[in-house]
């Protein structure tokens, strides 16, 4: 079974986070009484015309930029014609030949997934089937969606899940969509094929209506298995629409005829081409925050360890503090260390970059010991005072003067004569013990480096 190559492409529909619908002013709020968020436009009554929601366009551009797509300055809306009771106009307004954006890519677990296209379209209504009748709720009709389509670059169900999770994070992070699967804000239709022959794709099937990550994983695994079993038996995989059952965890083939639809796409005559100003795209590009993963890469390039970079970039607050502190003090490794060990221990308190930089500066310049640095950090969070104030108030300035330190060391030797004898005879591990004793005696103010240096002189004697 292992010699089969799996090829997966995914179509995702994400609901854009707008307050009004794509072509009218009706609210997009969720959970309202049926057919209350409706007007003649989203109901497609005779004579109405669509007016494009600018916010939806902006959000779609944001998403496309975050997916590294090329934004087209001119895109064209099209009508996708088909009859269905949830489709009030008998066609869906979408983008077809000339979409908003194409040719993007994102990294998923180190592998590149190419984004074929990102386009805008309207949602259909919701059908509620009862025993002897079907009801329609048009509240959903006309809600703005983006469709995000990948090239067939995904090679396992696991990678498909990783892609979806990453996509969800991107949409959420850029505030394009809440992308909650359970609410139907993110829906996905993967297509999958398997093949044994190098460089040749098998016949693909498309899996419909998956509404959880769990379902995506299980459906893909089941479908891969189904296809391989067919091929192993010497059979042929038919191009088809596949349905997945949550109950059985299995996929089954839908009606073969379902593929035969002809949507008769043509340019939507009620909407002029969508023409975007370069300035606007740039404005949106500037307003886009760096994605966590890109940020992590940048931190790594500054020399921060992968683990630390991941932790800091994963938190908006921590990464903001990191960047601001870095601007004051060009010590990425130090800042990262402080953020991981102190800042995150205190669960990301509101501290200023300036204060953090000052603690680090004092430590690096030898004015403050690391141990007391930690204390200052703690006091700073507790009292809200500045590190300089705290150091002065508590007299925490580090003792680095060799003569002063020698005095303390001599005192310690006197108090611990046995250990001192062993140390003199060359028991090296006692060096750390004496450093600790000196630190205790000075309440952490002694410069441990200097103490070590002086101690090693005794050892030589």
């Amino acid at each position: 079974m292992n010699d089969y190559k799996v090829t997966i492409g995914i179509e995702v529909h994400a609901q854009l986070k707008t307050t009004t619908k794509l072509f009218c002013g009706c609210p997009t709020s969720f959970g309202e009484a049926p057919n209350t968020n409706v007007c003649p436009i989203c109901l497609g009554l005779p004579g109405v015309l669509p007016s494009l929601n600018k916010k939806a366009v902006e959000l779609a551009i944001r998403a496309a930029l975050a997916l590294n797509c090329e934004i087209h300055k001119k895109s064209i809306f099209a009508r996708k014609n088909y009859f269905y009771p949830d489709l009030p106009k008998g066609y869906q307004i979408t983008q077809y030949k000339s979409p908003l954006a194409t040719s993007g890519k994102i990294l998923v677990e180190g592998k590149e997934v190419r984004i074929k296209r990102v386009h805008l379209e309207e949602e259909s209504a919701k059908l509620i089937h009862e025993k002897d009748k079907s009801l329609i709720d048009y509240n959903r009709a006309g809600i703005p969606l983006i469709e995000i389509v990948t090239e067939p670059d995904i090679d396992s169900p696991e990678m498909a899940l990783a892609y979806l999770k990453k996509l969800q994070k991107i949409l959420e992070f850029t505030q394009v969509s809440d992308a909650i699967m359970a609410k139907g804000e993110l829906r996905c239709e993967p297509n999958v094929s398997v093949s044994k022959e190098e460089g040749k794709l098998g016949t693909r099937t498309e899996i419909k209506n998956l509404n959880s990550f769990r379902a995506v994983g299980r459906a893909l695994r089941s479908e891969v298995k189904r296809q391989i079993e067919i091929l192993e038996r010497g059979g042929i995989v038919e191009q088809a629409t596949i349905h997945y059952s949550e109950k059985t965890g299995k996929t089954r083939i839908g009606r073969a005829k379902e593929e035969a639809s002809d949507y008769r796409y043509f340019p939507e005559p009620d909407l002029p081409p969508l023409v975007l100003e370069e300035e606007w795209i740039e404005e949106i590009r500037k307003s886009l925050e760096e994605l966590p993963e890109e940020r992590m890469e940048r931190y790594k390039n500054l020399g921060v360890s992968e683990e630390e970079a991941k932790i800091i970039s994963g938190s908006k607050k921590a990464s903001k503090l990191f960047e601001e502190t870095l601007r004051i003090l060009n010590e990425p490794l130090e800042i990262s260390r402080w953020l991981i060990r102190e800042y995150r221990n205190f669960q990301e308190p509101d501290i200023s970059a300036e204060n953090l930089a000052n603690i680090i500066k004092m430590v690096l310049s030898g004015k403050l010991s690391r141990i007391n640095g930690s204390l200052v950090f703690k006091l700073m969070v507790e009292t809200g005072k500045s590190p300089i104030e705290i150091v002065e108030e508590r007299n925490l300035i580090q003792i680095s003067d060799p003569e002063a330190l020698k005095k303390v060391i001599e005192e310690v030797f006197k108090e611990q004569p046995k250990e001192f004898e062993r140390f003199k005879k060359g028991e090296k591990k006692l060096l750390g013990f004496f450093v600790g004793e000196v630190m205790k005696k000075t309440k952490g103010r002694a410069d441990p480096k200097e103490v070590s240096r002086i101690l090693s002189e005794y050892e030589k004697n």
Binding site: G47, F83, P88, S134, P269
Partner: protein, 466 residues
């Protein structure tokens, strides 16, 4: 000839009251002519009480029954919309109401505007007031017949391939199809969205100009409406002598001799006034009908898909959705509309789209380009409006090809979006016949001024306003 301005003067002087005018119009409604699908007498009387001021105060206006007036049934001349009452008014209706206009009724039309004779209405054919055995032209035939028979002072129509201009020609009226986008289409039930334009049928250039002033202009609810500034169409002046008028030779082919002579009389009269005419050529004219058919049928097949019996209008229950929609559409639409939906569905299908729809779209661009080239040489194009006067009822109903013949002269303006006006050239026998002037985008004022001049030098006396 009495203009709206004349009526307003009479109202002011107290010689005549808006109520008397309304009563007169209501009295003139002739069931035999069948110009109206719905007479909105009650609404008219109500509005009259409120109509104290405005550029259209007290003026009875007929509205083609594919333009929505809130609370009044819109039928589009179709069975499929039976029982549908729009919960909103078209933008043009709101603008007219705010100027004190009075709506007297919704006028008959070929179903969804598809036809050139107003014979193909679920509500029966409309007859030409000049000759009850003849058609009034279509598809705004109801609006034209209402005026010619004296039951409205001015009317709204819609023009997809000539539907305002052809009936104007057959009924001795002025019919204007403005530039595409000059008037908001919001609330006009779509036939072919990229060609449809709300137009005006009036008794003279001044009235048409006045109504255009009221309804023209950008509407944020129609993304295809233009933000170009609205000119003053109310105070028309005569055109300047220096303008150049083109005679596109292709538009004079296969025209009835008497029609040709009448139209040429107008040309000669204008020449006498010092205007120069020049022969020009529009070689793609022969492709206008087929291009128009492919594009308009394609868009119609999509626009009419919403009539599925689910939400409003006619519903014939079937065992499932598909059967319900099949039965409802089977019963709701007349044969001509079904024919166009079928052809339109075919030309958009994946097997035919390149051969038909995309090719038509290309030829449309060529036709537009040819007009643009012409307008580099001349300021206006002068042509007949129709090749013949009104034809007898029933003559062409079984012959879709012959029914489309008049479109050759008018649909070019729709394909290229330019404005065009038709006005009376006189009579052929007892039947009126019109001439057409086409102009550059947004030059409605120029068209109206030329017609105003012709009205002065070759006055026309129609039925209802001698």
């Amino acid at each position: 000839m009495k203009t709206i301005a004349n009526y307003h003067k009479e109202f002011e002087r107290g010689e005549y009251t808006p109520l008397e005018l309304l009563e007169e119009c209501l009295r003139n409604i002739d069931p035999e002519i069948n110009a109206f699908i719905t007479v909105t007498e009650e609404l008219a009387r109500e509005s009259l009480k409120r109509s104290k001021k405005g550029r259209l105060r007290g003026i009875p206006i007929a509205v083609k029954d594919n333009i929505n007036i809130k609370g009044v049934p819109t039928t589009c001349g179709s069975g499929i919309l039976r029982g549908f009452i729009p919960p909103y008014s078209a933008t043009v209706i709101e603008r007219i109401e705010s100027e004190g206009g009075i709506f007297i009724g919704k006028t008959n039309l070929d179903e969804f505007g598809m036809g050139s004779s107003t014979e193909r209405s679920f509500y029966g054919p409309t007859k030409n007031p000049y000759d009850l055995s003849r058609v009034p032209g279509g598809s705004s035939g109801g609006s034209a017949a209402a005026l010619a028979s004296g039951s409205a002072i001015i009317s709204l129509g819609s023009d997809t391939g000539g539907s305002v201009r052809q009936p104007a020609s057959y009924c001795g009226l002025v019919g204007l199809k403005p530039t595409y986008g000059r008037v908001s289409r919001y609330g006009l039930v779509a036939f072919a969205s990229s060609l449809d334009q709300i137009g005006i049928i009036g008794r003279n250039s001044e009235d048409v100009g006045l109504l255009l002033s009221v309804i023209a202009g950008y509407d944020k609810r129609d993304s295809t409406s233009s933000t170009n500034e609205v000119e003053d169409y109310e105070n028309l002046e005569f055109p300047q002598k220096g303008i150049k008028i083109g005679i596109p030779e292709e538009y004079f082919e296969e025209i009835d001799e008497e029609v040709y002579n009448k139209v040429m009389e107008i040309k000669e009269a204008l020449e006498k006034e010092g205007f120069s005419f020049k022969k020009v050529s529009l070689p793609s004219t022969d492709y206008i009908i087929s291009t128009y058919q492919v594009i308009s049928y394609a868009e119609a097949s999509s626009n009419l898909a919403r009539y599925d019996g689910v939400r409003y209008g006619l519903r014939k229950e079937g065992k499932d959705f598909l059967e319900t929609i099949r039965k409802s559409r089977e019963e709701g639409f007349l044969p001509e509309v079904k024919r166009r939906i079928l052809v339109g569905t075919f030309v958009l299908s994946s097997e035919a789209i390149a051969e038909y729809y995309e090719r038509a779209d290309l030829i449309r661009k060529i036709i537009t380009w040819e007009f643009e080239e012409c307008f580099k040489e001349v300021d206006y194009l002068f042509t007949p409006a129709t090749p013949t006067p009104a034809f007898p009822i029933g003559e062409r109903t079984d012959d879709p090809i012959r029914m489309h013949i008049p479109d050759r002269l008018t649909a070019g303006a729709n394909l290229s979006g330019i404005p065009a006006i038709v006005a009376p050239a006189g009579f052929v026998g007892h039947l009126p016949i019109g001439y057409q002037i086409m102009g550059r985008h947004f030059d409605e004022k120029g068209l109206l001024s030329l017609v105003k001049l012709v009205e002065k030098i070759k006055p026309f006396k129609g039925l209802s306003y001698e």
